[in-house]
Structures are given as C-alpha cells and as structure tokens.
Symmetry: C2
Subunit: 213 residues, 2 copies
Amino acid sequence: MHDALTDSKALLIRRWGELGGYWGISRTMAEIHALLFVTGEPLCTDDVMAQLHVSRGNASMNLRGLTDWGLVQRVHKLGDRKEYFQADTDVWHMFETITRERRRREVEPIIATIDRCREMVAQLDSREDRAADETRGFCRRLDELRGFLTTMGALFELALRFGPTGVAQLAPLIQAASGQPGPRGPTPAAAPRAAAARTGSKRAKTRARRPRR
Amino acid sequence: MHDALTDSKALLIRRWGELGGYWGISRTMAEIHALLFVTGEPLCTDDVMAQLHVSRGNASMNLRGLTDWGLVQRVHKLGDRKEYFQADTDVWHMFETITRERRRREVEPIIATIDRCREMVAQLDSREDRAADETRGFCRRLDELRGFLTTMGALFELALRFGPTGVAQLAPLIQAASGQPGPRGPTPAAAPRAAAARTGSKRAKTRARRPRR
DNA sequence: GGTATCTTTCCGACAATTCTGAAACAACGC
DNA sequence: GCGTTGTTTCAGAATTGTCGGAAAGATACC
C-alpha cells in the first residue's frame, strides 16, 4: 500500500455510505458526509468530485442536501471565490441536529396522523355496537404508540440536555441495574412477554432455513 | 363514510407505510406491519393480500421479513392449517426488538469498521511525518465517533432496563433542566457551537432560495 | 402413495430513485 | 459591458428496488 491513512479513510467512507442506505439517505450523500467528516478541513465541490468520482451535479445536489440537514456548513476562504464545505465534526452536536430534523420530518407528522385517527373513531368510542371491542383495542394501541413517541422524544431531549459527559456518567448505572432483577417499570403487558419474545427474535436470525431443495 | 374505524385504520396504515421509506424499510413491509399492529388479531396471508391489495408472493416475502425482524410472530389456530401472523402490540417491546436488531445489523458493523480503520493508521500514529497532524485529527474523530456509538448504546440499554414507566418519570426532569442554563456536560467543543449552529439549521428550512429566475 | 391446501421462490415487468452531462445562471474583476 | 470562474438546475439515462403471477415445494390428511 502507498498510504495507509488514505486507505483507512476510504474504508470508513465506503462503510458509512452503505450504512446510509439503511437510513433512507442516498449512498452518495452519506459518502460525501463521511468524506467531509474524516477530512475535517473544508473541501470544495471539485475535491468531492475527484475523491468520490461523482458528477458535478450530483455533488452539488447532495452538498445542498447536507447543508439543508444542517450537517455541513458553507465556508469561504479569503481570496478564493470557490465555496467550501465543512462538516460538523462534533459528533454529539451532529446527533442533536439529526435528532431534531428527524423529529420534525417524521415523528411530528406521525403524531399528527395518530391524533387524526383518534378523532375519526372518537364518536364510535362511546357507542355500544358490535365493534366496540375492536375500537377500544385500536384506540388503546393508538394511545400507547403516541405515548411511546412522546416519551422517547422526552428521553432524547433529556439526553441532549445532559450532553455527552452527562450520559456517559449514566453508564455505571447499567452495571448496577443488570445486577438485580431490574428496576423495570411495572407495566402489566410488557414484563411477561419480554423474555420469551427475545429468545424468539434471537433464534430468528440463525434458525434453520425452510427445509428446501 | 360507511365505517370510520376502517377509514381510520387505513389512514394510519398508509402513513406508517410511507414512513417506512425513511427508514430503509419497503413501503409494503411497513404497511403489513401497520395492518397487523392496528388489527391486533392474527391475520393470514389471504387477509393481508385482500386488505392491502398485494400479491401472494409479495405478502409472503414481507411477512417473512417481519418475522426475521422479530416484530411479527407466526401463530397457529387449532383445526386450521393456515399460518397466521400476529404483530407484537406492546410498543415498548417493539422498540426493544428494533433497537437490538438495528444494533446488531448496523451499529456493530460500523464499530468494527472504526476499529479496523484505527488499526490501519496505528503505525503511522507514532511516526513524525508530514501527515502527523492529519492522522491525529482523523484518529480523534474516529475515537469520538466510537465513543458516541457506545454511549448511545448504553443509554438505550438503560432506557430498556427502566422500561416505559421509568423513562416517563424522567420527563419532569426536562422541565427542571430547561429552567436553568442547563446541566450540560462541560464539553469544550460542543457548547460554544451549539447555539449558533442550531439557529443555522433552523434557518435552513425556511431560508430564501438561491436568487434564481 | 395420492391429493388438496398452503407457502415459498423465481423471474420478467414495472416503478422509483439516483446519476450524469450539459445548459442556464450568478458573481466577480477587468 | 464582457470574459472568466464557479454553482445550480434539469431532462434523460442508468441503476436499483419492488411487485405480480406462475411454478415448484412442503405438509397434512385420506
């Protein structure tokens, strides 16, 4: 090899890129982000084009997408007309940006939908017709889902407030918690099913394929 | 309308489906999951085909995908040869399943990649060549990223241990925290940039388009 | 073993996303 | 104003992903 550093960066960029696919982010966008992240220094469009072998249009579009996410910022160098792009290298701050953006784009719309669904069946709720049970069950699940989403939102908010060091300090709690049966909240539905289903999901990945061929 | 309950379910299913796209999950898979979730009762392949207007092959593939995720379980009814599928309706447990699965599929591989990247530049690290600064910066970011991932993993682990009610009890803390300047951990890099960048990202979504046309 | 019933896989067709290259656009200096 | 430099957009091409229907496979019951 001629340059271990370059190879190492390339490896991370590639992996980060394919990971982007899992997250509904285009591979190129993720790769550009990774490139800017590992580089640390501001890069211009031509740098991105050269290092990632993408077209100018593609680079431009995705760089704009990244700035729209707030993950990348435009910077200018004195005496240079080119626009440079620099990634946020503070990982925790990156997380904050992504969290807020995803909440705005995804969580809030789904909560609005849940509320609307709830309204649609509100009048049925009190009536005593054949579908009363079904309706009640549906509403219960709707409410649980909504509660979960807001609770998770609150947890993230809290995590952001505590910051990286704050959350890191919580780690020892895990050790303590895993020693005892667990201070798990008394949720009637959750506790009994947890153990059984967990082993089930574990088996799923290694279970024998359907007896075929 | 002839059935508000049906319409309400359909709405949630549709929204849930399009949300799936953001998460690298196919729309149909998300819709099937939503259908099973809102129904609560076990459904067979034909039910899914009829209610979602998808082919048998498509339904079969995605139902299997969901069971592989551990979000849906096969159930059998006595005296019926058909296989039925039932979604986990405990939202918190669903979250646990998804968290563990995503960690296994995504977080662990990226951590392995980071470690490998770290090894690749390990020998360069000590040398005193021209790229020493660059290498040091790269390694620092690598370490930060790795630390963040493990910390978040720990946080999720903790959240799962506390369970829904446990986390919900944390909510009041947020109110308390938002009153004061914030007990945010003393992270040299994070604090100063947070305010500026946040307004930046907010402006991004409403900012004036490029002066065009 | 044979048949009926249900499930899974395969592959061509279709749809959506992503990428490229070129043209249009803006900014700057002369 | 006009050329130079750099950026953004757009339409079509290419890639990728998803779906439907049919054929093959598995299982239970007779």
